[in-house]
């Protein structure tokens, strides 16, 4: 995938993107590949690596934004532990891992091996959504090359550390991105999330053994952190939001794409309007609303464009940076339709295990579709909010939940935001029996 990328900010995970043959071992080695692994295995102890990652304050890039180093430190001691890399990337409008997987698979593999060493994993798996056929091929090839290069298998680089790494295909189910559903899926089962608490994967994970699950982008940061040190990483960004991060910008912008930027230094407005990034809204239109972190996140209006791209600021404003996806919607967008389409997604992707999510998602989608099609009633809006409240009691952020996993309370995000921000538009659909935007 060739990408439009800013060249002046530090490139931690996208340095090879756009280079011809970036996915090959040859290119990887000529651009410094596997030097971090060699350094880690032959000169550092796992504890030292863990300490560097802790210092870097790298926040997980999969959606929850939990400190990677802290997660590792919670791993239960056990002779058998596993590392699973989450490459399921299915959060709508998120496409950064897709780029990393196809564009720099060796970096992902190297980061994974470093992590496996750091956490003492007996075997590591990279779970990649089945729809990434090319990605699966490239990561498989990278793994095979890594074996022949001596970076995988027995006694890696003569360090005494051995590791097998397996790339595992998903088969089309968004919920398998949720780490416990992913573990179930990797065990060859239906992708049902497990109930947490009492047990998190770091205590009972894959095959019942303590397991670390980290995102592809999180892993891809490891070679740089080992080579440059956690402090160098932490010196980028502001506060808890350290380092750089890829934002996947989509929707009504002139230049949709993945942009690796220093965290917290830019605002949403910068990302959307600066020519080296989004280059402004399509056809010069105005922003009506945007989704700051994947469709699970509550929407923001134009007022929030000046928030910095920082985890805590966004959280304080009532949403999340989530998966790093930003969807821009211009003033010609039908918000009922947008919200309905998102509920349709959750309805289709609910695993069906727990009642509020399984039944609530379908019910809410049906109500939303009815309103969008012009058959809504005014009382539907309160009913919608109440149904949402029965999934995410209180409708606050971060949400409470009656469900097993957080897919449930993601359903209300867009519905509630839609009704709160654009109640009039919903009422027009209801009163005029159809969509004012022509549908």
């Amino acid at each position: 995938m060739e990408e439009t990328l800013e060249r002046t900010v530090p490139k931690i995970v996208t340095s090879r993107i756009g280079i011809e043959g970036s996915h090959t071992l040859e290119t990887y080695l000529t651009t410094g590949g596997y030097s971090a692994l060699r350094k880690a295995l032959t000169t550092m102890t796992p504890e030292e690596i863990q300490a560097e990652v802790m210092t870097s304050n790298l926040l997980g890039r999969g959606g929850a934004g939990f400190e990677v180093g802290r997660k590792w430190s919670m791993l239960k001691n056990s002779p058998l532990r596993y590392l699973v890399v989450n490459g399921d990337e299915s959060e709508p409008a998120t496409f950064k891992d897709h780029m990393l997987i196809e564009g720099d698979p060796h970096q992902l593999v190297e980061g994974t091996i470093i992590t496996a060493y750091a956490v003492g994993a007996a075997r590591a798996f990279i779970y990649i959504r089945g729809e990434f056929a090319l990605g699966l091929e490239r990561v498989q090839r990278a793994i095979d090359e890594a074996y022949s290069y001596g970076a995988l298998g027995r006694d890696i680089f003569g360090s005494g550390f051995s590791l097998d790494l397996v790339v595992h295909p998903g088969a089309g189910a968004y919920i398998c991105g949720e780490e416990t559903a992913l573990i179930e899926s990797l065990e060859g089962k239906r992708g049902y999330p497990r109930i947490k608490p009492p047990f998190f994967p770091a205590v009972i994970g894959l095959y019942g053994a303590p397991t670390i699950v980290n995102n592809v982008e999180s892993m891809s940061n490891m070679p740089w952190i080992v080579n440059n040190g956690g402090a160098a990483f932490a010196s980028l960004g502001v506060g808890r939001s350290t380092g750089t991060r890829i934002f996947a910008l989509a929707g009504h912008v002139n230049r949709p794409g993945n942009y690796e930027v220093e965290m917290a230094k830019l605002t949403f407005r910068d990302l959307v309007y600066k020519p080296e990034y989004g280059g402004g809204m399509r056809m010069g239109r105005n922003v009506k609303a945007f989704i700051p972190g994947g469709v699970s996140a509550p929407w923001f209006g134009p007022d929030q464009l000046d928030l910095p791209l920082a985890q805590d600021d966004v959280a304080k404003a009532g949403s999340m940076l989530g998966s790093g996806s930003i969807v821009m919607m211009d003033d010609h967008t039908c918000m009922v339709r947008a919200a309905w389409r998102i509920t349709k997604f959750f309805h289709r992707e609910s695993c069906g295990q727990c009642t509020p999510c399984r039944e609530g998602s379908g019910w809410i989608e049906k109500m939303m579709r009815r309103i969008e099609m012009g058959a809504g009633r005014e009382s539907d809006l309160d009913m919608l909010l109440d149904a949402c409240d029965n999934i995410a009691p209180g409708l606050s952020w971060p949400p409470a939940q009656t469900t097993i996993c957080v897919l449930g309370p993601s359903i209300p995000s867009s519905v509630v935001a839609g009704i709160k921000m654009f109640r009039d538009e919903f009422l027009i659909h209801i009163k005029e029996g159809g969509c004012p935007y022509g549908r």
Binding site: L134, Q140, S162, G172, A173
Partner: protein, 206 residues
Amino acid sequence: MSGFTPEMRARAEKICSLYPQVRSALIPLCHLAQEQAGYLREDLMIEIAELVGVTPAEVYGTASFYDMLHTEPVGKYLVGVCTNIACLLQGGEELLEHAEEKLGVAPGGTTEDGLFTLEDMECIAHCNKAPALQVNYRFFGPVDEEAFDSLIDDLREGKLVDEVPSHGTLIRQERSAPIALTMEEVLQERAVSDAAIAQRKAQAQN
């Protein structure tokens, strides 16, 4: 019609050997089965059950959870048009409607010649190329009506055999490196590796 071909069986067994617990091979083997037969034929599900040590009902129950695994026959080309939010904003719905017209089938349907099955897909992570679609899980985008028509025509004429192999995600993904360590060995090796680490620690202190 009975089970995997000898080559597929060999690949299946190799996949089984990659996991500490063989049931983990279930989904990869379902992909293999689709590669061979286009969909999860019953005899193949039974063979997978036997290979991974579960009942056929468990294979069926598990496979049916996943959108990519088909327990009914599908066309030679699975055309999946994304209509999720980013594509929706860029005309994904309209593209899907056009596709329905062009192929003459509704989502889920297969053309009479058995060539195409149309699917209405959730986000395929190609949003910067919206509206996007996949054919047998190979990406295309942005796709307008014209591009769609010529894509279909090319596929019909067999012009894209290299870009779009028959389905089965694993068709071009065959692992060459065997697993280096059994799980028992891992535990032994761990001791060796721990010793090496301890030695490095000691050196660091000196």
